[in-house]
Symmetry: C2
Subunit: 242 residues, 2 copies
């Protein structure tokens, strides 16, 4: 079994990804953390959509909609991209159409992979266990920021690699995985401090969202296992289904 | 003045690069190191071309041609991509058409930048001085491998960032520059050992080219300053012209 990491959605097409691969999509700040939070709060399904228009259409049909662009909630939407918004009283048993600047786009790019799961620091252990259970090659796909690489998603990749290597004899393929692991091993001592000069950290701070940062960097607080079901094009919490 | 790094040619279009930028193209293994070596050996100019066909056309016109694809020298060519091939007795005063798997492609992508210079570990100090002299924003463009990121070019980016920060008050922009600097600071203690599990290192070792690796990792052995002259589309050694 191999593990590799693709640092930007724009690079995904250059990887010769075996169809029998588990692709772990990560957008630490904040889409993947927020999806986990919504599932922990009892959301029945997340319907990832690429465009704001699509989210609006779902909203018109009576579904809840989460929609964010460039950190801010879209006006029509019930929720933005903060994990704190998706509380049990609002999402329990509900389906939520969801679009964000980067995270949901990455998911659509990997749509042909056999297995797609959403990873975040909050559900690292759950995702690790699932990858081991699936027993396939693993590809981490970082959402990045407007196709540029970012530090927090790369660090998640390193954390997942480290976590998987403890469980099973994975082979690292590709320099990006070496880079991610090396950076993670330096960063993990104080993750928040290490990220403090990074771009999206700074962007969130400027929007007064330090509490979101803290939420997103909390390891293993979530039981969610958001897996993409191709037939329905929905993310379901497989931890409740397995 | 800012400094940023683009980890793959496929990501370059996502950067909003100010036209008044000095772009440093790097392909440590081996194109940029080889270009420097050819200039140190007295080559009059390197004509970077994208395709093997173009190199062959120059050869037919009587020029020397260096051409490599996937580590090997192309049959028709006078030289491959090893810095050892470009000896003074063969290149002194000559113009050489040159195409490689990744390095010369990267150069063509950045062609619109105000200033393009070739960087390698061997001419790190020379490139640092030139960037300081130009007094423009700096963008390091890594050649990578078939559009994937690679470790050695990223590490050169980190080394150049560190070197520039010692000379001038540059501002790092972008997470990739933080990543490159962090990786370099860990790697520089023993660069060869740090790179020993990376992809292209392994590829070169398998082709019996450890001596090329050693050449490429030698810091500051070169006086070459290969700058791209747009009017002629040639790389000239500005260290002889300035």
């Amino acid at each position: 079994m191999t593990i590799d990491i693709c640092l930007s959605p724009a690079l995904y097409s250059f990887y010769d990804t075996d169809p029998q691969t588990t692709v772990v999509i990560v957008d630490v700040f904040r889409a993947s953390t927020t999806i986990c939070a919504a599932m922990d709060a009892g959301a029945k399904a997340i319907i990832p959509v690429k465009s704001v228009d699509e989210a609006q259409e779902y909203k018109a049909k009576g579904l809840l909609a989460g929609a964010e662009r460039n950190v801010a909630r879209c006006d029509f939407a019930d929720f933005g991209n903060s994990p704190y918004e998706y509380t049990a009283d609002r999402v329990q048993g509900k389906e939520i159409a969801f679009t964000t600047t980067n995270g949901t786009q990455a998911l659509k790019i990997a749509e042909n992979a056999d297995t797609i799961v959403i990873g975040a620091f909050t559900n690292l252990k759950v995702v690790t266990d699932y990858c081991v259970h699936k027993n396939q090659n693993v590809m981490v796909l970082c959402a990045g920021w407007n196709n540029k690489v970012n530090l927090e998603d790369t660090l998640f990749g390193g954390a997942l690699i480290e976590s998987l290597l403890l469980e099973k004899d994975f082979t690292l393929t590709g320099d990006a995985s070496l880079m991610a692991l090396s950076l993670w091993q330096e960063a993990k001592v104080d993750l928040k401090s290490y990220l403090s000069t990074s771009e999206h950290f700074d962007r969130l701070i400027k929007h007064g969202l330090e509490k979101d940062i803290d939420f997103c960097l909390k390891m293993n607080g979530s039981d969610a296992l958001p897996v993409y079901e191709k037939t329905t094009q929905k993310l379901l919490n497989y931890n409740l289904l397995l």
